[in-house]
């Protein structure tokens, strides 16, 4: 029985080995795929604008906006009561900054106009594939929102108010200084006059005192003689 079992098992083993040996005899072949495409005239056209340029413009707009916000915050910071000299300096600074802000806003507007023109070009029906220029639309929208945000935050009227307030402060301080100078001068005159008067009074009183003393001395001398 055991012998028969071994014999029965032996056949599948031999078949397995035979099959494996068979696999080593069989090679491989490919029924390779190939296809031919008829050559057609190819139209080559450069892109209206490349994604790198749009990104660059977007970054520049972002930089300008950040710089404008920073400058604007420094202007709006309130100044405590300071001297006239400091106020002059602050006014000059504000005028300078206002000019800078105007220039930066103009630069931002230029970027917006440039992107707008690119966007309009992509909308041209002659452009073959609109989806290729999605990045232009995205860039334009980003810069548009930056510009809107800048215009909403930076109030040039407020700047004017700050400037006029400074001018008013300066004027007020100047007037105050002038009036204080006048007062000082007037007081000085008064003081000198009063000093003169006091001096004359003093002289007069000194003379009278001496006379009395002389008189008293005479009396004394007379008493002495007595």
């Amino acid at each position: 029985m055991r012998k028969a079992f071994h014999k029965v098992i032996m056949f599948p083993c031999l078949i397995c080995i035979f099959f494996y040996a068979g696999t080593q005899v069989v090679g491989e072949t490919e029924a390779s795929f190939s296809s031919q495409v008829a050559s057609e005239p190819i139209e080559l056209s450069a892109a209206i604008v490349f994604p790198g340029t749009i990104k660059q413009l977007e970054d520049r707009a972002q930089e300008l906006a950040s710089s404008m916000h920073l400058i604007y915050e420094t202007i709006m910071a309130t100044t405590p009561d300071v001297s006239l000299q400091v106020l002059y300096g602050r006014l000059a600074e504000i005028q300078n900054i206002e000019q800078k802000l105007n220039l930066q806003l103009a630069a931002l507007n230029t970027i917006y106009d440039e992107l707008s023109s690119y966007k309009n070009q992509t909308l041209d029906p002659a452009v073959p594939d609109l989806y290729t220029y999605d990045y232009v639309q995205e860039g334009f929208q980003a810069v548009q929102s930056i510009l809107q945000e800048v215009k909403g935050t930076i109030d040039f009227k407020q700047l004017e108010i700050v400037r006029s307030s400074l001018k008013w402060q300066i004027k007020k301080l100047e007037e105050k200084e002038k009036s204080s100078e006048k007062n000082t001068q007037a007081r000085g005159q008064e003081e000198s006059e009063s000093q003169d008067k006091a001096a004359s009074y003093l002289d007069a009183s000194t003379n009278s005192i001496n006379h009395v003393e002389v008189k008293e001395d005479g009396e004394e001398n007379m008493d002495h003689y007595k």
Binding site: H6, K7, I9, M10, F11, P12, C13, L14, I15, C16, I17, F18, F19, Y20, A21, G22, T23, Q24, V25, V26, G27, E28, T29, E30, A31, S32, F33, S34, S35, Q36
Partner: protein, 177 residues
């Protein structure tokens, strides 16, 4: 009587299988030593790896190729196997070109929409497809060459056979003593 017949039959089958295995091992070793593809009586078996010749033969089937000694006699419509760089390709001849006494063939896969970009020279041809194909066997052969396949088909049965042989010898020695 039946037991005797069964014993004789099993011995014959076992013997034939053993001879076949030895023969295959010899073929494999000799082809490895010579560096050529294994050839049995002028025929080679190949597994089809891709489907550009469908429906003539399917991907995963095995096909037989008659190795040719004179590769310049093939005709238009014959299916030939040829070397292309490191690959073996099997395609149908679309056109026979003769120039300066040299024969070359323009080929095309039956399932391809255009002729091949190359021209096959006669010395690159291995042989001709005989029309014998067995579908799906290629997948089994592919599995047999994996680690699991080797373990299942070679190592486990091999160890079993060795153990059986030892036990038989042992029992023979015991019976003799």
């Amino acid at each position: 009587m039946a037991k005797k017949i069964w014993t004789i039959t099993s011995n014959i089958i076992g013997g034939l299988l053993f001879i076949a295995i030895c023969f295959l091992v010899f073929i494999v070793f000799s082809s490895r030593l010579s560096g050529e593809d294994p050839t049995i009586f002028g025929y080679q078996m190949k597994v089809v790896l891709s489907g550009s010749m469908e429906p003539t033969f399917q991907t995963g089937s095995i096909i037989s190729i008659r190795v040719s000694n004179d590769p310049s006699f093939y005709q238009k419509g014959d299916i030939i196997t040829f070397h292309l760089e490191d690959k073996l390709i099997t395609h149908r001849i679309l056109e026979v070109k003769k120039a300066n006494g040299q024969v070359s063939y323009k080929t095309k896969g039956d399932n391809n929409n255009g002729p091949d970009l190359w021209t096959v020279s006669a010395q690159d041809i291995v042989g001709e497809y005989t029309g014998f194909t067995i579908p799906y066997v290629g997948y089994a052969l592919n599995y047999a060459n994996t680690k699991a396949g080797i373990a299942l088909l070679l190592i486990v049965p091999g160890i079993w056979l060795v153990i059986t042989a030892f036990r038989r010898k042992e029992s023979e020695v015991r019976e003799a003593s």
